[in-house]
């Protein structure tokens, strides 16, 4: 019986789609059968981040409306065995789907897949309600900024009101140099404010931009973000993986410089 996971944030641009792509790909790399569903109707993006934009025939709304079978709409990612994408519709609006329909669709996929991962749109309206309707677990993505954390808090409140069983936090795009000099909230700070369990810390990494340019998720690669996302996948699977030491790249020069810069 598969597990349905929604990736959400409230605020836009904090890395929901990137997280969905990397966590989904990572779980597939670890041998799980995974389907990614882009629930952002009208603003589809997961297909380009995954590099599968040229292979779309049918979309989520076609499936919901019964214009095609689920099987026909799923795009198989040829790079990884057992990784599929159900793209969103670009030319429809969010009201084309109801929460009940989304829940039914997710439940139908449980038999065949280990993980059904839903990429939620920004905001707290219809699209959000659709995405969380059928989910067992939520990954709340935030960055260490006041606006993103505030929105994450609102989302967490709504998830709890909807009786989401498990809610975990991913702090994305953290810059250890800024945290060290006290100009960015640490993952501990964010965790303390939001009062939910942390499942991942992803450092700000230019390799994310490079990998997105190419349409290839970087999970599993030897970059900081690639390793951070793989760790998240293992934690989702129930493994106890220690958090990465993001300070390791700090040189003696930067230590001296950082300490005496103000004098």
């Amino acid at each position: 019986m598969g597990e349905v996971i929604v990736v959400t944030s409230g605020k836009g641009g904090v890395g929901k789609t990137t997280t969905t792509a990397n966590v989904g790909t990572g779980l597939a790399m670890l041998g799980k059968k995974v389907v990614l569903i882009d629930t952002d109707i009208g603003l589809r993006n997961l297909d380009v981040v995954m590099g599968l934009e040229n292979r779309i025939v049918y979309n989520l709304v076609d499936v919901i409306e019964g214009a095609c079978r689920i099987r026909n709409a799923l795009i198989k990612d040829k790079r990884y065995p057992n990784l599929y994408l159900l793209p969103s519709a670009q030319t429809r609006d969010k009201n084309a789907v109801t929460p009940e329909q989304m829940k039914k669709l997710a439940d139908e996929l449980r038999d065949e897949f280990d993980y059904i991962i839903l990429d939620c749109p920004a905001g707290i309206e219809q699209g959000f309600k659709n995405a969380i309707a059928g989910a067992d677990r939520a990954l709340v993505v935030t960055t260490p900024e006041v606006s993103a954390v505030r929105d994450a808090d609102r989302i967490i409140g709504l998830l709890e009101a909807n009786e989401m069983k498990q809610v975990h936090l991913i702090v994305n795009r953290i810059r250890m140099d800024m945290v060290r000099r006290g100009d960015m909230m640490s993952s501990d700070d964010v965790c303390e404010i939001l009062a939910i369990d942390l499942i991942g810390i992803v450092p700000d990494d230019e390799n994310i931009v490079i990998s997105t340019n190419q349409g290839e998720p970087l999970v599993g690669s030897d970059s900081l973000a690639g390793r951070a996302f793989m760790n998240i996948c293992q934690r989702i699977m129930g493994e106890d993986v220690p958090f990465m030491d993001l300070d390791e790249k700090r040189s003696i020069f930067s230590r001296l410089f950082g300490k005496h810069k103000k004098n």
Binding site: P144, V146, R150, D153, V179, D183
Partner: protein, 91 residues
């Protein structure tokens, strides 16, 4: 250098954290600054009927307080209302 520099060295993350904590208390309580302003005006109107209060020193806000019944903190409406002239108002 100066005293203010000593504090600035702490960085801006603590400012972010403090501001967030405050805004989240009112967010979670579902109490917007607009509603707070209305509550404040109503409190002023009621109390002014009986005693003269110092409007400049008046402070009303939502804070966190330790709950007596269950563990953890709960939001509380905190009002600090300085009385200007008790004797004059008693007349």
């Amino acid at each position: 250098m100066g005293f203010s520099d000593f504090f600035r060295k702490k960085g801006t993350s603590s400012i972010a954290k403090d501001r967030l904590k405050l805004v989240l208390v009112s967010d979670r309580a579902g109490c917007s600054p607009e509603i707070m302003e209305q509550i404040k005006n109503d409190i002023i109107a009621v109390i002014s009927k009986y005693i003269e209060i110092d409007l400049d020193g008046l402070d009303i806000k939502i804070t966190q307080t330790e709950s007596e019944s269950n563990n953890g903190t709960v939001p509380a409406l905190f009002a600090n209302i300085p009385i200007k002239d008790l004797k004059a108002s008693k007349r």
